[in-house]
Symmetry: C2
Subunit: 491 residues, 2 copies
């Protein structure tokens, strides 16, 4: 992997001077075009061995580009707030809007590489971590980000020489730390781990580029050219229409048609059940084990299925300091400029907190699919992206609970009619709601696919028969309690 990078490359001053001036102009023009078009962002991932010129090169890029529109993020040890969220949260948080160039120092690569080098990750664990990275980068690429991944390399001898030079100079001595010498000592292990990481995560959508670090002018030109290449990337080809589409059920039977929609609960049974399950939920979230966990509860359902009323019965059991309800409506302009999962990552709870979503990331495979707001390829890849997302939450200790509140067409009609006559509910109904009824069969197919493709072991769907509100509310509370007990292993 690093053979060519250990050759003593060299560029003379004159050639550098001419080429760098030209690069500077080209980079500025490319940056301006990107900002205007807002079509794609460039993420420059900078990693490599100690003293190979990462910092200097990034500093140079900031002078070649307009530094007002480049953000550089250094990801060192995670802060307390970052540790209270899933590991990828801090990268999501820093994600720039499309149109900008951002530089991510160390990023998601350095921690696993260093942990593999010192043996604290087994090869299997390391490969699994790299596979998570691959899926994350695939999603970024599909969402309009060009990934430019640069590994700054030096041989062990070159690195030793460089560290000694830096230490000998009064102005640069501060840049050499004990950690650098420690890396020098373990150079081979680090390079072995890095070589594996680079091989397993070099894909057509995000190849690694190895930058030889020992000659300043050489590494500057290599980096500048690679960046220019990434920035003037031709207009992305229109998303191809996939060759294979999901097949809807041919006999009209779906998981929805199998539901027993007649289930109900009389008032006399409902009220004691409500108190019982609310009390149960209150006890669970106060349990000491919940302090190290958090929960995400997703409410989805047909219009007028009773999501709001069910949410009210859930939060009545909770201390308002420990939950947050996020109603999901149209995205803001800041949200539109980023991958679609970004706006949900913003509301991921820290430990001890419960986040309730009234509609969610499933909009992509429901309304966006049915209404044609995104390409088929986009909602098809969303199933996998959503599964990854929920798995990351689960691995961090966030219990993911997903509820589909289902009603039939007749019940919806009756509820719409009562909304129109009740002045306090008229605001809940509009022309869109009536129009959506015509697409009922298309929604049924989408729901069925959603449940099939995203009901995972760590985040299964629960379909709630909601023609009877009392029945639905109790089933919702019971499901939440049981899922929490199960994942938190509370008897």
């Amino acid at each position: 992997m690093f053979e060519s990078a250990e050759i003593d490359h060299h560029i003379d001053k004159q050639r550098y001077s001419a080429e760098s001036e030209q690069l500077h102009q080209q980079l500025l023009a490319a940056q301006f075009n990107m900002l205007e078009a807002k079509q794609q962002g460039v993420l420059v991932v900078v990693a490599g061995v100690a003293a190979a010129g990462k910092g200097e090169t990034v500093q140079l890029l900031n002078t070649w580009l307009d530094p007002r529109r480049v953000q550089t993020y250094a990801f060192g040890e995670p802060s307390e707030e970052e540790r209270a969220h899933p590991p990828l949260w801090r990268y999501w948080r820093a994600l720039p809007p499309r149109g900008e160039v951002s530089i991510f120092f160390d990023s998601w690569y350095m921690a696993p590489i260093m942990m593999r080098a010192d043996g604290s990750l087994s090869e299997a664990e390391f490969d699994a971590a790299l596979d998570d990275i691959r899926r994350f980068e695939r999603m970024l690429s599909d969402e309009g980000f060009v990934l430019l991944k640069l590994w700054f390399h030096m041989s062990r001898a070159q690195q030793r020489k460089r560290l000694r030079e830096l230490e000998a100079n009064r102005d640069t001595r501060w840049r050499v730390s004990d950690a650098d010498w420690e890396q020098q000592r373990r150079h081979r292990e680090i390079c072995d781990a890095a070589a594996r990481a680079l091989r397993l995560t070099s894909h057509e959508f995000a190849p690694w580029i190895v930058v030889p670090g020992s000659d300043e002018r050489y590494r500057s030109l290599v980096t500048g050219r690679a960046l220019l290449d990434a920035m003037v990337n031709e207009e992305r080809a229109a998303v191809a229409e996939p060759a294979v589409h999901p097949v809807p059920p041919l006999d009209g039977r779906s998981i929805l048609s199998q539901l027993d929609m007649s289930q109900q609960l009389e008032k006399d049974d409902y009220e004691p059940a409500l108190l019982r399950w609310q009390g149960e939920l209150a006890r669970i979230v106060r349990h000491k084990r919940f302090r190290r966990h958090s929960a995400v509860v997703v409410f989805e359902g047909m219009d007028a299925a009773g999501k709001g009323g069910a949410i009210r019965r859930v939060v009545a059991a909770l201390d308002p300091r420990h939950y947050r309800v996020t109603p999901v409506a149209a995205p803001s302009d800041e949200e539109k400029a980023r991958p679609y999962l970004w706006r949900f990552w913003r509301h991921i709870p820290r430990r001890r907190m419960l986040a309730i979503f009234d509609r969610s990331w499933y909009g992509r495979v429901l309304v966006e699919r049915v209404e044609g707001f995104c390409a088929t390829a986009d909602w098809l890849r969303a199933y996998g992206e959503i599964n990854d997302f929920e798995e990351q939450l689960d691995e961090h200790g966030t219990v993911v609970i997903k509820l589909w509140l289902h009603i039939d067409l007749e019940t919806q009609l009756a509820r719409f009619a009562s909304r129109q006559t009740d002045p306090s509910k008229q605001h809940k109904i509009g022309p869109d709601d009536w129009r959506n009824r015509e697409k009922w069969p298309a929604y049924e197919t989408a729901i069925s696919d959603m449940v099939d493709r995203t009901s995972t072991q760590c985040a299964p769907w629960t379909v709630v028969e909601a023609n009877d509100k009392n029945f639905a509310r109790i089933k919702v509370l019971k499901t939440i309690c049981e899922r929490l007990r199960e994942r938190l292993k509370i008897d």
Copy 2:
């Protein structure tokens, strides 16, 4: 202050049942209207003595309102990330958009009250803290937030009785902590401090309401009615035109006309000076004292004054991991829905970081004033709000450096002309730029007022004569170095 609240108030069950049902309907309707109008937000500040029913009441409000559009924030001990920013940062961060109701537990009041009660704040320090709060709330009120401040009170005897009741019940025992008994012991000191706080921060725009805590039904109705009142607040009166306006200089002389615009620096002097001051800046930000500080550098100036070029020379001296450049353009929709300073608080640096603003919060008293984008009263109050903001930064250890890059009309004309002929610069010039030239005298008045009114001891303006780019760039670097040395006390 608390006399009436210690009476044994009581509401019977029947009356409560009727009134609370009506309140529930009215609150829902008011909430819906607020969300539609997006004109004002309601911030409910909840504070009070231990066990006086704060938590239960907030929980009740969350069932009376649609909980999907109420956010409750509990502000306990600040996190590590919060401590790395000025104290008000965490409240700014949580600030909801206009149209919503938010509940701030404890908020900015409990810390100073408890510190005064245990003697760790002197009376003078306490009063100063309250005065900061008053100005902050004044700004929130002017920006469209209704502040509903509720103090939940109980006498010492009532509190003791309540704590014992809670402890006696298996289901509520968890709610009584050692801290509560400690508060019981120091009840008098806490109430003395609170009474002073409530008196000094009760203003027509944000009066305190004392809620008697001992009877659950009584305190629920009081809270519900007060909240309804706050939410149905009539359309805010149009901002009154102030009676007194600043007087522009009558003889045409201003700080700008006094500048020696002929100053320049030859290339032979410029290049060594650039290296010298860049090296100086690099050393200062690496100084161990800067680790506990941060810096904000504001660049303002006429169009084509050379802000971009000057910023490039500054950042060339810095490690990109330690600075961030924020170009200020039109606000996003999320930003428009909040007080105008919110979008700058988002970019306030944590310790060790340097934040560079290319244009800034001064837009309010420059372009917004001159173009009439806001009412006179709005830009007039902005001077004080900006001074408060910068003082908060300074007190936290953030060095505030403000640079006005000034050119004269002829120089601007020459630069505009060269932009139009150079293809790589054409994007930098548009019809707005030409139009703005006609308003030059109005801008000169606005700049002059800005410097007069916001050049404070902790955050003075430096006016940079920028007809000659070399001269300006060196003066910029020198000013930044000298201000940092002075505030950080580095020799």
